[in-house]
Amino acid sequence: MLKRHRHKQTRHSGAGRNPDRSCIWIAWQSRHDDKIVAHGVFYTGLILTILLPMLAAPVAAEEISATRQHELLHLLKQDCGSCHGLTLQGGLGPALTPQALGGKPKAAMVATILHGRPGTPMPPWANQLSETEVRWLVDNLYQGVE
């Protein structure tokens, strides 16, 4: 059962490929059978229960080099900023200020950044950012970025 409807994950990579295509694709398999969907929700819930605390754990600053931290903050301001605003007050995408994030769980934020949000313009960043880097960025967002 689990095998049939777990999240299908395929990795394309390798020399000679267009670098843009060397990204991880997460395809969400959907089934119309209620039973399977119910099981899917259960298993997804189970996976999230186990994974979410891991995703939400704070990242020690020393895990990411100072140079990389600088790059990440630059990316946050300039590239995330193209939709969320340079000051993260929001644009086409929602505001990412500590007030706006408020009570939203950190783990959900991490998952959104890594895998994107289907049906919206939010793209997945897992091909460019590691999970540790994303957790560090999310910590920064909740604290407020200069």
């Binding site: 990204c23 694709w25 395809a27 300039q78 590239d79 605003g85 340079l86 007050q89 086409l92 313009p121």
Partner: protein
């Protein structure tokens, strides 16, 4: 006596050492520092830096009909009127909490701003920047307000814009500025993210993020409603992630062909303007952001989203082949052609540079130091429809 007056006038004029036209002038946005630089393209130089324009992270500019004043639309809702000749801020208002762009009416008397928060369009007197009309982009049960994108001026003193959250296009007649007449087109498609008006002012086309195809409104025949074009484009294909939403402004038209950025596909689409059918898909190295024609339409220049935003490609508009690939530097954000297209100005954000290229030889002829430059807007825009 008359001679004396004429002589006095001549003396006064010649005493003004700075007398000049604005036809070769423009602005570069320095997005992170809330500043702009006034530039001129005859000697390819920056003339002056002006600060205090607020959050310019997604700024755009339109010009007064005399090309003396620039209206700068900031992200923080700031609307700033800049005097190019005096090199100062003539007027400035904060008109909303979060805005995305604007347009100036055909007669030059009104400046409209499209806002995200609160969602809608506000229209101002171009002289005084006083509010003339407020158009909330309400939809659904009437309580919700949509973000507004793709605002352009259209012939017969109208404005056209799209409602991102509502999936609507609104056509607004502002001939009686205080009493705008609004025509709403509903269910035009999901998540229109930007729009353009063809250079002749006839077709308004909105790009859709939420579904396939583009929404087309023929302003010669608004009674025919909005139709979907290119609905088959990209169907059944896995879409690639989009790290920056494409812009549809300055789209390229050469003969019967139109060139637009594919979304979620690393391609430039070529459309036949007579049939609205796709005639070619040109593979490019990344998600195209701007696809712009040189003013003579001989070349098509393209820049790309992160992570290929260091690259610019040039297409031959006739045989659709890539004739040049340039790598100006990290984060190429915008390109602007000189009025007749012999040169193109390119902003390279992370290199803190604006480069000027010769479009015939592709040689870099000038490099100007700017702080985090983004949009480049030349006064040639003053006389163009739909920008």
């Amino acid at each position: 006596m008359r001679n004396v007056i004429i002589s006095l006038a001549l003396v006064t004029l010649t005493a003004c050492a700075g007398v000049r036209g604005t036809g070769d002038m423009g602005l570069v946005i320095e997005r992170a520092s809330g500043s702009i630089q006034i530039i001129e393209t005859t000697n390819n130089q920056a003339l002056q830096r002006i600060e205090g324009l607020g959050d310019l992270s997604h700024a755009s500019v339109v010009y007064s009909r005399d090309a003396r004043y620039a209206f700068v639309f900031g992200r923080d809702g700031g609307l700033t009127k800049v005097d190019l000749l005096k090199g100062n801020i003539a007027k400035r208002v904060i008109q909303s909490g979060n805005s995305i762009g604007g347009a100036i009416s055909q007669d030059g008397r009104l400046v409209a701003v499209s806002n995200y928060t609160p969602g809608g369009v506000r229209i101002f007197n171009a002289d005084t920047l006083q509010l003339v009309a407020d158009i909330p982009a309400v939809y659904g049960d009437g309580q919700q307000r949509s973000k507004v994108v793709g605002l352009v001026d259209a012939p017969e003193n109208r404005f056209v814009f799209s409602l991102y959250d509502a999936g609507e296009i609104w056509l607004v007649d502002v001939n009686d500025p205080g009493k705008p007449i609004i025509t709403q087109f509903r269910n035009i498609g999901q998540l229109p993210y930007d729009a353009l008006l063809t250079p002749d002012g006839r077709y308004y086309i909105a790009g859709l993020f939420g579904e396939d195809g583009l929404a087309l409104l023929d302003l010669w025949h608004p009674e025919q409603g909005v139709q979907r074009i290119l609905a088959e484009y990209g169907k059944g294909e896995q879409k690639l992630p989009v790290y920056k939403m494409p812009h549809l402004e300055g789209w390229a038209s050469a003969g019967d062909r139109l060139f637009i950025p594919g979304i979620g596909h690393h391609e430039v689409l070529v459309i036949d303007k007579n049939t609205w059918q796709q005639v070619a898909r040109i593979p490019v190295p990344g998600q195209p952001v701007f696809v712009m024609a040189r003013p003579d339409n001989r070349q098509i220049w393209i820049n790309f989203a992160h992570p290929r935003n260091d690259t610019v490609q040039v297409l031959d508009a006739e045989n659709l082949e890539v004739i040049k690939t340039l790598t100006p530097g990290k984060a190429v954000l915008h390109m602007e052609f000189t009025p007749r297209g012999e040169q193109v100005w390119i902003s390279v954000r992370d290199a803190d540079r604006v480069d000027v290229y010769d479009t015939r030889t592709f040689a870099r002829v000038q490099s100007l130091s700017m702080t985090r430059p983004s949009g480049i807007f030349l006064t040639v825009r003053a006389g163009k429809i739909g920008l």
